[in-house]
Amino acid sequence: MKPPPFDYHAPRSLGEALDTLAEVGEHGKVLAGGQSLIPMLNMRLAAPGHLVDINRLPGLADLDVEPGGVRVGALARHAQVERSERVAAVQPLLRRALRLVAHPVIRNRGTVVGSLAHADPAAELPAVLALLGGSVRLARPGAVRDVPAAAFFTGPLESAIEPGELAVSAFFPALPPRSGTAFREVARRHGDYALAGIAALVGLDDDLRVTGAAVACVSLGPVPVIVDVTEAAGHRPAAAADWAAAAQAVWERVEPEADIHATAAYRRHLAGVLAEQALRDAAREAADA
């Protein structure tokens, strides 16, 4: 259970990091918090020729909080984002989701952007980015592009990041007025990956009628699955909306797989139960907002 050998690079500037990544191309991997990459190396599930450690790059740990949303730099750790009151004020779903990510000791090292780059369909943050319609900023020498969440997650552990590219930040938009969010999941032990999880977003108009409702599903498909349930819930006051029908729509839409921890049928069952709970929580928060 030791990592295979690799060439280790510790660039001191963004330019140097991008040049190194461009040079090593598909043989290179970025090392951020290492909380997913190092287990994969230890288990010999990955054997990159070059590791580009970005931990010594200046400026990448910044949290840029504006009324419109939160931009999280590539070196911002889970714990740092979780503790930030400024972040929680603008986008409370981030803190809620982060408390479900692994254990506190792992959150001290793991990064938010690393979690997105890792693109694990069982992870919480990809679902949050997808639900909120956020984006990831990717850089290579002389070029920067923003990839919206809908195009970013392309498969299990696969993202739109191309060899040689560095994810420099991710943007989580703030919520419009009169909207609420919630995150519900079932895990075998607090801090473990969820058997199934649901992040929900509900928006209301001035008469507190539902104008939009959607969920993002965790561990229920190859990527974070977004289900728009606005129609199913009905254009009714939040308290009278048909959240059971909305949950049924989620139940029908997901395509979970079985593993040693849960059957596909059990995961589908959880999807329905958690979706109804999360949508009700989010609607309540929207009505109180």
Partner: protein, 158 residues
Amino acid sequence: MHEITLTVNGVVQQVAVPGRRLLSDCLRHDLGLTGTHVGCEHGVCGCCTVLLDGEPVRSCLVFAVGADGHEITTVEGLAAPDGTLSPVQRAFAECHGLQCGFCTPGFLCTVTALLRQNPAPTEEEVLEGVSGNLCRCTGYQNIVKSVHRAAEIMAEDR
């Protein structure tokens, strides 16, 4: 090989390591500090937890070369230089917070950091705080008791 400098338990150490040397192996094999235990090597068990610049981290999920220039505290560094046990160590001894002791170094480091951040944790905060460490022997009851007792000792000492 990479020439690195680590300050371990207050002592500056220079060592040459290959890029793939895990911090846990560097501490145990290169520096002879075998108090840090290694269980799973993929972040699940918490046995290898040490303090990196005061923050608890999995030493099996950090490369030694990445810790170059940083400060590390292992279980060997928790007691006072004269050997007096730290409040957390005393509490674990008093409350029988261990049986075989394999998981203990990780628990001691995790709990030391937990109480530094939150000197009077609630029951729920203690459970959350130690949830990332596995113990095969004690059933956790006495470990949880030890954390509360350590908080008491620290409050008395203050």
